[in-house]
Structure formats: structure tokens, C-alpha cells
Amino acid sequence: MAALSPVAAAASSSRSRSLQLLGIFSGLTAGAWLGAAEAPTKLVTLGLSPMVISLVMVAGVFLARWSLPALILGTSSVRADAGRAPHLVLWAILAGFLWAVANTLTVYAIRDIGLSIAFPLWNSNSLLGILWGFLFFNELRGAGLARWLGVLGGTLVMCVGAAILAIASSGVHAAGANPTHGVLAALGAGVLWGTMYIPYRKAYVSGMNPLSFVTFFTIGEVGMMCALSFSTLGAQRLLAQLQSARGVIFWLMLGGFIWVIGDLFQQYAAKYIGISRGIPLSNTNQLWGLLWGVLVFGELHGRSATAHLQVIGGSLLMIAGVGAIIFSSTTARESSQWRVAAQREATRYGLSSDFVAARLDGRQSAGESAPSRTLLDWFLVALATAVFVYFAAIAEIPRIGGDWRPAALIALISLVLLTSCGVHLWRVTRFQ
């Protein structure tokens, strides 16, 4: 490769810094919105099966994953991405399968060992993400000891902080029927989620747009969730539960919609700072979920001083871990290793090197037509809106009490993050 001129090298370094800041910003915004997704589900107090709650949320997710990409870039852009790298559609669907099976395993883990033990076990997924990122995509290669310690140490500290928060917020759990099953289910969910990041990173080092990836991801996600729900509950019981849940379907689907907004930012974080840094940063969703729970729904009301201290300590540990990861940004040497991994994918699957390099740099490649929306895109947006409006019209007003002043404040902060990060993404990458 020819050496860059000093001006070109400075521009490349400045672009790299800009993309890294964007990745960090995306990871933190993802945390806020993934955490906010818990709020609508807290309004649902009916005795529904967790499988039904997950299935309805995934229905909201499906609508969002088809309508948002159509609105932002247009389905023609999604089609073009799939045409350039058709093999990635398979990986996206595979990732959706992995997510759905992991999500179902958590239901059994919580039932058998409770959230406080199950959560730290499946939260290990970010550590597995670091391993896969290193092995398959050259993440942290040539990063140096300080950055290794920052990323790995920061992630470990975040896991400990998250475990303390889970213990503080989950209360006492009565022993389930089979604790061994619960432990295995929680560990299994962690391995499945951690492995799901392989398709994420593979798609992004190959140049696929995150908006295209999630459109195919959701086919696997909703397909596997439907199959698991039918096989667990049976068609009759499932339909009966869905019928009885008519009044709360809107709130669950809204939770799914908000979750997708967070997930989209997580995808951009995984693209621009890799899975080893992007996934732990977006795992700050637990802090935001706790903020909603404590300030809006009074979940710590009447709890002991120990529980309050655990919440403060766990939160501080998570913030310290986030700081360590933020200050362990990618070096030029590590970035060049990422490009080696991208080139390897390009060679293997016959992708244009220029295209892959441009997309890795958050740009469109030369000759690539600008994304545009068609009638089909507006139809998809209108259809998703109509479904939400219908379920909103038949939704029951939640009977659960909440303090809506902090809710308004947290929602405002989340909206400011969404707007500023969205505008930044548009300015720097045009959502590439």
C-alpha cells in the first residue's frame, strides 16, 4: 500500500477519531433507549405468560425494523445491500434465531434461579463478544496492554456493577423447581447472545448497512419466537392469551418499538468501535432501566438501606467501567488490523475492496447511487403506523401508579440523546 501524504494521513486520522466518537455516542444512546424499552412493559400487570409478552414485544420490534429502515434510507438501499452480499442475509437471520432462543432461555432462568443469579450469568455475553471480536475480526490486536486492560477490565467492572444492581433490584426469589436447569439456561443465554455478535461484526466489516442487517435479522427473530411460542404453549392457549391481552398489546409493542431504536444505535456502535467496546457501552441500559424503575415506579420504596447502597455502588462501578472503555479507544495499529479482517472478508466473498473500505469508513462508495424512498417505503411506514394506532385505540389505561415528573425528565434526556446522536450519525455517515 502506498504511504499517505501528511495531509491525507491527518485527514484519515481525524476521520477515524470522528467515527470512534460517533461509535461511543451511539453506544451510550443505545443504553438509554434499550433501558427506556422496559418502561412500557412495567405498565403491564396482567398474569400473562412471559412467552406471550416476548412474542408481542417482538411483533412491535418486527414492525419497527421494517418501517424505520424504510423511512430512513428506503428499502431500495436494503435490497442493494442484500444484492451485493447475499450471504450476509443468512448471517442476519441466524443472529435473529440466536436472539430468540437466548431470550426464551432467560424466561426459564428467571423462573428457576431468579433474576439476581441469572442476570450476572447471562451478562457474561459481552466478555464472549470480546473473545469473538479478537479471534475473528482482529479487534484489540496491536492495541497494547493499557487498552486491553481498559476494555477487558472495564467490561469486567461493568459486569460486577450490573450483578450488584440485579441483586439490589430483584429482591428475594423463592427456589424454583430445578436450579441446575436455571443456571444452565442463564449460561446458555449468555453464550447465545455473545455468539450473536459474530454475525453483527461480520456484516459490518463486509460493508453492510446496520439498517439493512436489522431488516433481515428480524425475520429470524420473529420466526423463531413464533415457533417457540407455538411449541411451548400450543396454538389454542397462545391465541387465548393473546385475546385476553388485547388491552395491553399496545404497551408491549411500544416497548418493542423503543427497544429497536436503542438496538439501531447499538448496531452503529458495533460497527464503528467494534463489538468489544460497543456491546459493553450499550449494556448501560441496565442503569437507565433502573432509573425508570426507581424514580418513576418507586421500585426501591420501602427497601433496606443495604439495597440503596447496592444500587449506588453498582451504578458507580458501571460508570467506572464505561469510563475505562471510553478512554481505551482504537489505535491506528488496531484500526489497520480491522482493515485486514475486512479485506479478508472481501476476498473470500468477492466483494469490492473499494466498497468495503468506503463503508468501513462510513461513506458511500464511488458510483453507488444515493438512497431514495419509493411508494413501497411509505406504504410500510403507513402500515406500521396504522397497526400501532389500532392497538393504541383499544389499549387500556394502565392502572399502575408512577411519578410522571421524573418520567418526563428521563424521556426528555433520552430524546435529546436520540436527536443529537441521530443528527451526528447523519452528518458524519449519512446513516451508512
Binding site: 451485493r84 447475499p86 450471504h87 443468512l90 448471517w91 441466524l94 443472529a95 434465531f97 440466536l98 432462543v101 437466548a102 426464551t104 432461555l105 426459564y108 469473538w132 475473528f136 430445578n178 436447569h181 444452565l184 439456561a185 446458555g188 453464550v191 447465545l192 455468539t195 450473536m196 459474530i198 454475525p199 461480520k202 417457540l228 411451548t232 473470500r348 466473498y349 468477492g350 466483494l351 469490492s352 466498497f355
Partner: protein, 40 residues
């Protein structure tokens, strides 16, 4: 994408089936489904 870069459908299948990044998620998914079946 240039013609030189394009991979035929048969080659694409071979590329996928010989890619360890395909088999690791597939193996984990299969193990996850077996685990789920066992604990249900």
C-alpha cells in the same frame, strides 16, 4: 462490483460452508435449542 469480484452461486455456498464464522453460530444455536428442549 466488477465481474472479476463476483462469486458464483456455487462458490458462494462453498464459501459459506467452509467459513468457521458460519459454523460457530450454527453449533451454538443447535446447542441452545437442545438445551431449551431439555429444560422445558
Amino acid at each position: 462490483m466488477s465481474g472479476k469480484d463476483s462469486v458464483s452461486a456455487r462458490n458462494l455456498v462453498t464459501c459459506v460452508l467452509t467459513d468457521v464464522q458460519f459454523w460457530v453460530p450454527v453449533a451454538v444455536l443447535a446447542a441452545g435449542l437442545l438445551l431449551l428442549e431439555w429444560i422445558r
